[in-house]
């Protein structure tokens, strides 16, 4: 790779051992990609906590987050002291909600370790937003802004809907970018790679959040890591709908960028979306494809008695919290079922103020922040059957948590929470 003087200086260790290792990792990574150079970034989203059991053990054994960061962020088995980050860096989702860790079934020792990890992140200057949806709480990159983000659902949103430029980074590359302000200039940072590859003729009138989940889930599975162009969308979807669509497409496949003709910023026309080129393939999303995606998402579920209703993957917007409150008001969650709703900490503040938290609490549900069941392996004790309105969560719950998982509308989920029974069906 071609390095600038400041990159060479970091690689030579002139800015200390941590930045030296960060630069070394980035060079190995850039060469693996086949990148020719780096691009500067001042917008990084990463997770550097100790949420997984293996990483937790390392933190426990060494008693040091410098050690965790050295190994899992810098790929360095010797422990170096981690300095303050160089690029503005935001923390993604964490391993628990510090206000609800006991009900989440987390051990005290894990909670204590988590608080140490928070202290470490603070020390090195990481913004503790603790959400998979940084764009809901103030990190809204400008069109063309070069970023280094983890979290596939956030990457696809920022690339596609906001026109920011990034690839789906991992923990190591994201953390190295935070220390150096550099990321390989490759993939979706470059104009030509942002063009559409597959045309999707959307024949079904996609409206609800469920439909946007199904569209994303179907298209992701079909195009894998390519760039689909959705054509035929007649009404402009809300942020929440696109949040779910992208998250689903990045789960069934590896989609990091898509276009919606006439709606997203780099697709004012079909021609612009494809850069004047012909699509590699054309597919359609009609009634049959919608049905197929629905059946795939529900293929793990058999028993209708629901133990756990999970809402907020990706973290709920305030609009979604409000919608749920309207459905829940004056009702009561079944005594055999738990209702957990996840939103960013900053939005919880608004939910508290607007009385939404009270409505949810009075109904017997819990509004949680900072974490997510599949990431942190947290769920109500004894859960076997879950229900969710998220294609992404429904995709991962069976494999990660071993749960039978129902997928449907938000209303289906609330009815399941109240009655304890899944009655959802595709209409």
């Amino acid at each position: 790779m071609k390095l600038t003087d400041d990159e060479k200086a970091m690689l030579d260790g002139k800015e200390g051992p941590a930045r030296q290792r960060a630069m070394d990792l980035l060079v190995r990574y850039g060469e693996a990609l086949g990148a020719e150079r780096f691009i500067d970034t001042d917008n990084v989203c990463v997770a550097i906590g100790a949420s997984g059991p293996f990483i937790r053990d390392l933190a426990d054994k060494t008693g040091s987050f410098d050690a965790v960061f050295s190994e899992f962020a810098l790929d360095s088995s010797d422990v170096v002291q981690i300095p303050e980050v160089k690029a503005c860096t935001y923390h993604l989702i964490q391993g628990l909600d510090p206000d609800h860790w006991e009900i989440e079934g987390v051990d005290r020792s894990v909670y204590e370790l988590h608080m140490k990890s928070i202290a470490f992140a603070k020390r090195i200057g990481v913004q503790l937003m603790n959400t998979c949806t940084p764009y809901l709480v103030g990190n809204v990159p400008v069109r063309g802004e070069h970023c280094a983000w983890m979290e596939s659902s956030a990457v696809i949103y920022a690339n596609s809907v906001l026109g920011a430029r990034m690839n789906c980074e991992g923990r190591e590359s994201g953390a190295a970018a935070s220390l150096t302000g550099k990321i390989p200039y490759w993939g979706y940072h470059l104009d030509q790679n942002r063009l559409g590859t597959h045309l999707v003729e959307v024949e079904y009138d996609v409206e609800s959040i469920m439909d946007w989940n199904l569209l994303g889930y179907y298209v992701g599975e079909m195009v894998q890591e390519r760039v689909p162009v959705l054509h035929g969308i007649r009404r402009t979807p809300t942020l929440s709908r696109l949040k779910h669509c992208g998250a689903a497409a990045a789960s069934s496949g590896g989609v990091e960028m898509y276009h919606i003709v006439g709606i997203t910023p780099e697709a004012r026309s079909l021609d612009e979306a494809f850069g004047g080129k012909k699509p590699q393939a054309t597919l359609k999303f009609g009634k049959k494809e919608r049905q197929m995606a629905y059946e795939n998402l529900n293929s793990s579920a058999r028993e209708r008695a629901v133990d756990f209703v999970m809402l907020g993957c990706p973290h709920y917007s305030i609009e979604q919290v409000w919608d749920v409150c309207k459905m829940l008001k004056g009702r009561r969650v079944n005594s055999n079922t738990s209702l957990w709703i996840f939103t960013p900490r900053a939005l919880k503040e608004i939910a508290d103020q607007n009385g939404y938290t009270e409505i949810i609490t009075n109904a017997g549900g819990i509004l949680m922040t900072d974490t997510c069941p599949v990431l942190a392996h947290v769920m109500p004790k004894g859960t076997r059957v879950a229900a969710t309105d998220s294609g992404k969560q429904a995709h991962y719950m069976p494999s990660i948590l071993g749960l039978q998982t129902w997928f449907g509308t938000t209303q289906n989920c609330i009815e399941a929470a109240v009655s304890g029974q899944w009655k959802g069906e595709l209409k």
């Binding site: 690839n167 293929s299 494999s399």
Partner: protein, 138 residues
């Protein structure tokens, strides 16, 4: 025994040999593998329940969440990583995963490795020179 040679581009250097495990389906890291055992756990995956530990993993590429590299990073530390990677589609997930796994990896082949290599074949991966040598299983 007839040997088949493929030429590609080095992703991560090194030279090893081992038994091939081939899939035509992309692989999910986070939520798709158990890194402690080195086993595929993704539902509806053709390799579900199979172990890639110590194998030469031949696959189209990576998909899913950004925790791909971390899962395979943990697999290396747990001694459950594949021995080498042979794949077609370059993405940041698989590039970073290969880097932190510290195993030889090659991509951009002159022939599709998924069409040439079969599970059980003996494969020598010389990533420094971008050469894969395949010996058919008996």
């Amino acid at each position: 025994m007839k040997k088949i040679i493929l030429h590609g581009r080095k992703v991560v250097g090194g030279c090893v040999e081992g038994e091939a495990l081939v899939t035509k389906q992309t692989i999910t890291g986070w939520g798709g593998i158990n890194p402690m055992e080195g086993v595929i756990i993704e539902r509806r995956h053709e390799l579900r329940g199979q172990s890639f530990k110590g194998k030469v993993l031949v696959f189209p590429g990576a998909k899913g969440a950004s925790g791909w590299s971390t899962r395979f990073h943990v697999a290396r530390l747990a001694g459950a990583a594949p021995k080498a990677l042979i794949f077609n589609e370059m993405t940041t997930k698989v590039a970073l995963g290969a880097v932190v796994m510290h195993v030889p990896a090659i991509t951009d082949f002159d022939q599709d490795p998924l069409a040439v290599i079969t599970t059980g074949d003996w494969v020598k991966v010389d990533a420094d020179n971008g050469i894969v040598e395949i010996t058919r299983k008996e």
